[in-house]
């Protein structure tokens, strides 16, 4: 099922492999084919160039940022979402574009086709806002012109290592990452306590905790394709054919040897001896007699060769009889023809030849 379905994935044209100008053309074509409402406002980035690290994004959901470009430049707002496909971000308060949404995409309580949809922002069009505490205790907002990431720590909320975000040239000022919304376990997740239990200890160089007969080779594909073409573990017939050099013309001694071999081959027995035949027959009969499945037994009985042999013999007999019968008929016919001919010739003599 899956192999057939994945055919297009495997052999179909992969747009990512095309040169950039062709890729652009295909992108434009696919853009044209979509409804205007569903077209993205920014270019989709190819997968290898998408951001994966927080240091690439520079912001996370919940960060306060200052917009520095467009109609809303100067406003401080929050990051609403990261648009991973285009490496851009959505802001809570942002410029919008008017789209005409088909009814299938309407939100609850929507009553018009016209919809104001937020635009995405590039990372360089915003500045991260942090707060610093003055000596007298008052708090002041600052916007970071440039950021550097130096050092890393384990963040309990993100549950992973996060780089420390500092302001460039003032690296003592750290802008902490916003606190993400807690994630609840889904149906597929394993409880943390279970994952943390250690059940494997290496305590011997003689054996592992694996069952008998186990080896890593059992879960490897011996004919896997990722084995090098020049370092195959199992050679197929065609491989052997490719790897063996063509044969040289035969020498006189070799010809003599082959003739000898042929002679030996001719001398060998080709027909089965009655003992061997009996042995094999006995084995087959033993198997057929020991069948327990009643349906299969009936099937075997119905296909008894003795029945077919009798049928065949009967047919042959009938054929023979038919041939003999035909012979008799042929003779009779000949006599009849002769008699008719005689009779005809008599009548011809009587009336004379007629000419039409």
């Amino acid at each position: 099922m899956s192999s057939l379905r994945d055919l297009s994935k495997r052999y179909g044209a992969n747009v990512d492999r095309f040169p950039h100008y062709l890729r652009k053309m295909f992108e434009q074509m696919s853009k044209k084919s979509q409804l205007p409402a569903l077209r993205p406002d920014a270019r989709i980035v190819e997968e290898s160039k998408r951001f994966t690290k927080p240091s690439q994004w520079k912001v996370q959901v919940g960060d306060r940022v200052l917009i520095t470009r467009g109609k809303l430049s100067g406003t401080v707002t929050k990051v609403a979402a990261l648009h991973e496909a285009s490496n851009r971000i959505y802001l809570e308060q942002s410029e919008t574009r008017r789209i005409i949404a088909p009814q299938a995409f309407w939100q609850p309580n929507q009553d018009s086709h016209v919809l104001e949809y937020p635009k995405t922002y590039h990372i360089n069009d915003v500045k991260v806002v942090g707060t610093i505490v003055e000596e007298d205790g008052t708090e002041r907002d600052i916007a970071a012109d440039k950021l550097v990431f130096k050092g890393a720590y384990f963040d309990q909320d993100y549950n992973k290592m996060m780089p420390i975000r500092r302001i460039k040239y003032n690296e003592h000022i750290v802008i902490p990452w916003p606190k993400p919304e807690p994630v609840e376990d889904c149906e597929f997740s394993t409880p943390r306590e279970v994952t943390e239990v250690r059940t494997h200890y290496t305590d011997s160089i003689v054996k592992l905790d694996t069952p008998e007969g186990y080896s890593v080779e059992t879960f490897r594909n011996p004919t896997a394709k990722n084995w090098s073409k020049w370092n195959k573990r199992y050679l197929s017939k065609s491989d052997i054919k490719k790897l063996t050099p063509p044969e040289m013309p035969l020498s006189e001694t070799k010809k003599a040897m082959l003739a000898d071999k042929l002679k030996i081959k001719e001398q060998q027995i080709t027909e089965m001896s009655p003992e061997v035949l009996e042995f094999i027959g006995g084995k087959v009969a033993q198997h057929l007699n020991s069948i327990t499945d009643p349906n299969f037994k009936q099937f075997v009985d119905a296909n008894d060769p003795a029945r077919f042999i009798a049928k065949k013999a009967k047919k042959a007999e009938e054929k023979k009889a038919l041939i003999e019968n035909n012979k008799e008929n042929y003779k009779l016919n000949e006599i009849r023809k002769r008699v008719e001919q005689k009779h005809k010739s008599k009548s011809v003599k009587k009336h004379g030849n007629k000419i039409w």
Partner: protein, 307 residues
């Protein structure tokens, strides 16, 4: 063409039906055709333990997008390294079954041209990551075992020699710490478990371990037990008797008493039969333990009955 069809129609079945004069035998030519009967699954009952249910999640035809929404991530290699083979084996099959379910549902959505099939494919890829990581961990374990064996071949003898010297030089070795050490080295290097069971097969490594431990104990405690008159242990049977006893003065004394009895018989075991003999000793021991267990169990039964 037309003629041929007419002749075909006059097959004996139809012909017979037409020519029969009995009333009500033939269908009326004006009979009203019936609507084709659509098959229904209501007529079919499937067993609850039918093996194909494994391809369905809770007996559902397909899950919705919400039901397969996930917030987690695949198991990391670091997490899997802590798990025993049994756990990994179990996890592999949990993953495999879930992927099969997802594949089926994905196919169903794809047949009707729904984009939802991508969501199922996404989760399936996540599970696949766990599965290749399991293979990775098992491969790591295998190669580390091979490397450890190769390393032990190079300087294992030296390590054993050092351990032997330390053990002999230590004044007080009848402590829990040293008992544990002996137990550990016996299992780590020679694969001899503390408790013998039925599936133990004696091989050269096992034999080596028996010799090492047995000779070590004898060298340490022979003088203290006052049995330096025995000299060196002569064959594997004598070594095994020392190996079997505890690593204490009393243990070695007991073993020496047995060796005295054994030497009276004046048998010596050749090197070629050592494995066979040790296997025999172990089998005897296990049989003895089993028969004792059965006796005790029967005794308990009788007691219970009498009560």
């Amino acid at each position: 063409m037309f003629k041929q069809q007419i002749s075909k129609f006059h097959t004996s079945a139809v012909e017979m039906a037409r020519t029969t004069s009995r009333k009500g035998y033939r269908l009326s030519p004006h009979v009203k055709l019936r609507k084709p009967i659509l098959p229904t699954i209501d007529n079919i009952t499937v067993k609850e333990d039918h093996p194909l249910w494994e391809f369905f999640s809770n007996g559902k035809f397909v899950r919705t997008g919400q039901e397969i929404a996930y917030t987690g991530r695949p198991w990391s290699v670091q997490e899997l390294r802590r798990k025993s083979f049994e756990d990994l084996h179990g996890l592999w099959y949990v993953c495999l079954k879930e992927r099969n379910r997802l594949y089926r549902e994905e196919h169903v959505y794809e047949q009707v041209g729904s984009m939802r099939s991508n969501e199922f494919d996404g989760l399936s890829e996540q599970i696949r990551a766990t599965m290749w990581r399991i293979k990775q961990v098992l491969t790591e374990r295998d190669s580390s075992l091979l490397r450890a064996k190769a390393e032990f071949k190079a300087d294992g003898e030296k390590y054993l020699q050092e351990f032997r010297e330390k053990y002999l030089q230590e004044e007080q070795v009848e402590t829990d710490e040293w008992f544990d050490k002996l137990e550990r080295i016996q299992y780590a290097i020679f694969g001899i478990p503390d408790v013998l069971d039925t599936n133990i097969k004696v091989d050269l490594t096992f034999l080596k371990g028996v010799k090492f431990i047995g000779e070590l104990k004898f060298a340490k405690f022979a003088e203290a037990a006052g049995r330096s008159d025995l000299g060196e242990l002569r064959d594997i049977a004598e070594i095994y008797t020392v190996f079997e006893e505890s690593a204490t003065v009393e243990g070695v004394q007991n073993a020496c008493d047995k060796i005295d009895e054994y030497r009276l018989s004046e048998i010596t075991i050749p090197g070629s039969k050592e494995i066979q003999v040790v296997q025999g000793f172990i089998d005897d021991k296990i049989q003895q333990a089993q028969s004792e267990f059965i006796e005790e169990a029967e005794n308990e039964k009788i007691e219970n009955k009498s009560i």
